[in-house]
């Protein structure tokens, strides 16, 4: 079993109203000095088999096709672990 994480973030030039709303709430809670908040998505995938180049290429395709919209978002694929004990 292979565990892969895909992080999806709005592109830097894209306005992130959700991040702005969070940033606006922090000073009201007494947290000062936060100059930027960007909100993204994290996908944790568990996939049968070893972390072969083919498997990771498949994850890249998933990220590009469905998990992110390349027009407004960037993604990063991270291999977390490969272990027989994962179930």
């Amino acid at each position: 079993m292979t565990r892969v994480v895909v992080d999806v973030m709005p592109k830097p030039e894209i306005l992130d109203p959700q991040g702005k709303a969070v940033q606006g709430a922090l000073p009201r809670l007494g947290f000062q000095g936060v100059t930027e908040v960007r909100q993204g998505k994290r996908f944790e995938l568990e996939i049968e088999g070893e972390a072969t180049p083919e498997l990771l290429a498949d994850v890249e395709r998933m990220a590009e096709l469905l998990l992110s919209n390349p027009v407004i978002e960037d993604y990063q694929v991270t291999l977390v672990e490969t272990a027989e004990t994962l179930s």
């Binding site: 709005p10 894209i14 306005l15 469905l66 998990l67 027009v71």
Partner: protein, 230 residues
């Protein structure tokens, strides 16, 4: 009034219902008021039932999970819609339908959360800038109309080269008077290169009768089609 019309030689316009579509019934009603036959299409069918044009209605398909339109894009019926659109069939995406068309990349850009973070619902003034498309040829170029706008994620974004290209090629179909949701260059609707596919954030199907809504300015989106199909 919820069923399909029958018979006649009128153009047949399909309206797709996805799980979470809200405005499919209103869209079918607008199609009928314009003088065409409305055909209910189901997201799960690989079948366009021989329609001459397709409307992707507003709503929250698949709960807007992941991104608005991202799951609906892969609904079985959409592979037929995308193929037909590439071959020139008129397709109009309204609100969530616009989001779906952007996710399929039939239209450039994307729609993100409104810059003011609030769901807006208002009678919105628009300028119809391109009256050459399958869905806007019954308007005058530069005509100002009032059509309902209701969305939380209606802010149109694209990179600057894409925006410049859309402007240069006259592919901005409609522009907001004022800018209610932070759309880049106040863009309310765009078309593809061929002019058969149009995406529009406001809802013309809610502006087709005097009884409800802000008048009948939206009806010409649906009557435009008749000139192309008949």
């Amino acid at each position: 009034m919820n069923g399909n019309d029958v018979g006649g030689a009128r153009p047949r316009v399909g309206v797709v219902t996805f799980p979470g579509s809200l405005d499919d019934v209103d869209a079918r009603r607008a199609v009928r008021l314009a003088g065409a036959e409305a055909v209910a299409l189901w997201h799960g069918d690989h079948d366009l039932q021989g329609v001459d044009a397709v409307v992707l209605p507003g709503g929250f398909s698949y709960g807007d999970y992941l991104r608005c339109g991202a799951i609906a894009r892969f609904a079985p019926v959409m592979s037929q819609v995308v193929d037909a659109a590439r071959e020139g069939m008129p397709v109009l995406g309204i609100c969530n339908g616009f989001q779906i068309l952007c996710e399929t990349h039939l239209l450039p850009g994307a729609l993100i959360r409104n810059d003011r973070r609030k769901f807006g619902c208002l009678d919105q003034r628009l300028v119809i800038e391109n009256n050459k498309t399958a869905w806007t040829n019954a308007y005058d170029a530069g005509q100002e109309v009032t059509i309902v706008l209701k969305n939380g994620e209606g802010s149109y974004v694209a990179d600057n080269p894409t925006l410049d290209m859309l402007e240069a090629e006259g592919r901005v179909v409609a522009r907001y008077v004022g800018n209610p949701n932070g759309s880049q260059r106040a863009i309310a609707g765009v078309t593809n290169e061929a002019g058969n596919v149009v995406g529009l954030m406001p809802h013309p199907e809610h502006a087709v009768e005097d009884l409800c809504g802000p008048g009948t300015d939206g009806l010409a989106f649906f009557t435009s089609l008749l000139g192309v199909l008949v």
